[in-house]
């Protein structure tokens, strides 16, 4: 198994995939920091952690599905291009192992992106001298929210990217996912919870309330979020297993 993973790392030696994902994230970070700085300069009391986290959570709904679709497609497409799927299977590695290795490789990449994002949020707050101290627990909850949701979406994208040689399908799925992820808050929660992409904002520890005239930031109760988190984890596992089994049985 370790051998299969190290093969994945080896294959991407010259591919700068980490660089690409990091740049992708930096664009988001810069964009949101610009927006945040503007809103603080207009209204100094906006300088709080809750507002920052909400902005990131809703932007993630758009960004992550597309980032994952692009990265996973890149990881999987090279096998289509060189017809190397066949080669791998003749190297006495089980298809399930290849599938797992790719999944783990993609997950490590996404984990890296998540870590960088959380660290930049913390750094921004500290640089901007937010009144409240660093809300470590809130950020940890935020971190796990995006990681778990991403695990499920990586599994989904990998399945589609490997199943269909035509990457248009995988990327269109990513695009529609981003669409849903971004507009999830506008839908009734019963509807949006069907879609895996809605959990970026759904699992955010802070939410926006449109009830009153003023925008309110509400810190969600951890207990209320735990069942949702469970759903995402179960979804991740079942999508992964379904994809792995489907492709292992598929004739090459």
């Amino acid at each position: 198994m370790m051998r299969a993973i190290s093969i994945e790392f080896f294959k991407f030696r010259h591919r700068h995939i980490y660089l690409m994902a990091t740049l992708f994230l930096l664009i988001e970070v810069i964009f949101l920091f610009m927006g945040m700085s503007r809103s603080i300069s207009m209204k100094p009391e906006n300088a709080n952690w809750e507002a920052l986290i909400v902005m990131f959570a809703s932007m993630n709904g758009l960004l992550f599905p597309i980032l994952i679709a692009v990265s996973v497609s890149r990881i999987c497409d090279m096998e289509h291009k060189g017809n190397t799927w066949k080669l791998l299977l003749t190297l006495s590695i089980k298809p399930g192992q290849v599938y797992a290795a790719k999944y783990i490789y993609a997950c490590i990449l996404i984990l890296w992106v998540c870590i960088v994002q959380v660290l930049s949020i913390a750094a921004f707050g500290i640089v901007k001298d937010f009144e409240d101290p660093l809300p470590t627990f809130l950020l940890i909850r935020y971190f796990f929210g995006i990681v778990f949701t991403s695990l499920a979406i990586v599994a989904l994208q990998q399945w589609v990217s490997l199943m269909k040689k035509n990457q248009v399908i995988a990327l269109t799925l990513g695009m529609i996912g981003g669409f849903i992820g971004m507009t999830a808050d506008l839908m009734p929660s019963g509807v949006s919870r069907i879609f895996i992409w809605s959990y970026y904002s759904g699992l955010s520890p802070v939410s926006l309330s449109y009830e009153s005239e003023e925008l309110d930031f509400i810190v969600r109760n951890l207990n209320a979020l735990l069942p949702l988190m469970l759903i995402v984890i179960i979804a991740a596992i079942s999508i992964y297993l379904a994809g792995s089994m489907h492709l292992s049985r598929k004739e090459v």
């Binding site: 248009v168 669409f179 839908m187």
Partner: protein
Amino acid sequence: MLIRCVQAEFIKLRHTRIWLLLFILPLVSVIIGCFNFYMNQGVLKKEWYSLWSQVSLFYGEFFFPIFIAILCAFLWRLEHFNKNWNMIMTAPISANSIFFSKLIVVGSMLTFSQGFFGLLYFFGGKLLGLTSALPVELFGWLLRGWIAALTISTLQLALSMRIKSFAVPIGIGFCAAILGLGMYVINLGLLFPHSLLTIGMGILNQSSISSLWNNLLYYIMNGVYIFVFSLVAIYRMKKSDVVA
């Protein structure tokens, strides 16, 4: 020569279901936009104008650029596979024709999707019970949107021609869309292809192009970008070795 190239491009698209995309994206955008409009009728009081702000927001700001990137990447992907570069570069066809035939194909697809989007907007509005007359600006939004879309297409075609990966140019396109929004916000929109789309389609401000001068400037900027991007792409095609 160009006409034959375009015909060849259309033959290449047979049996592909890329056409489906042309329907799906406008449809999803309009449905979500209409739904959002319906839910927030309290705040959105300007009838057709408010509806336009809703349907065009997600469409024009993020998904239209990605959609264009996917189309362009798809057209070049056909050539990146199976040594097809060898075939097109040994045909008695100029590099100009190769590049512009692809631009024409993308352009005609975009014409279709813009038209369909406009039509859906009209029916969506009727379905929501809007009674006033359609905005006079509608045609202008669609046309200017189409032109900005061509500008973005030229950029994406140039990227996808050079980058063999299917997904990377799309990722770049998406980042550029976010950058474009930023440029628009700080009022440098006329300087960036993706912001031109925001301006042209009247997404964030339905009356942003008023004066003749601004209008002219808008077309000139698009023209300059299309010219520069195609020039660079064609130059690269002529000067570099084919690695099929």
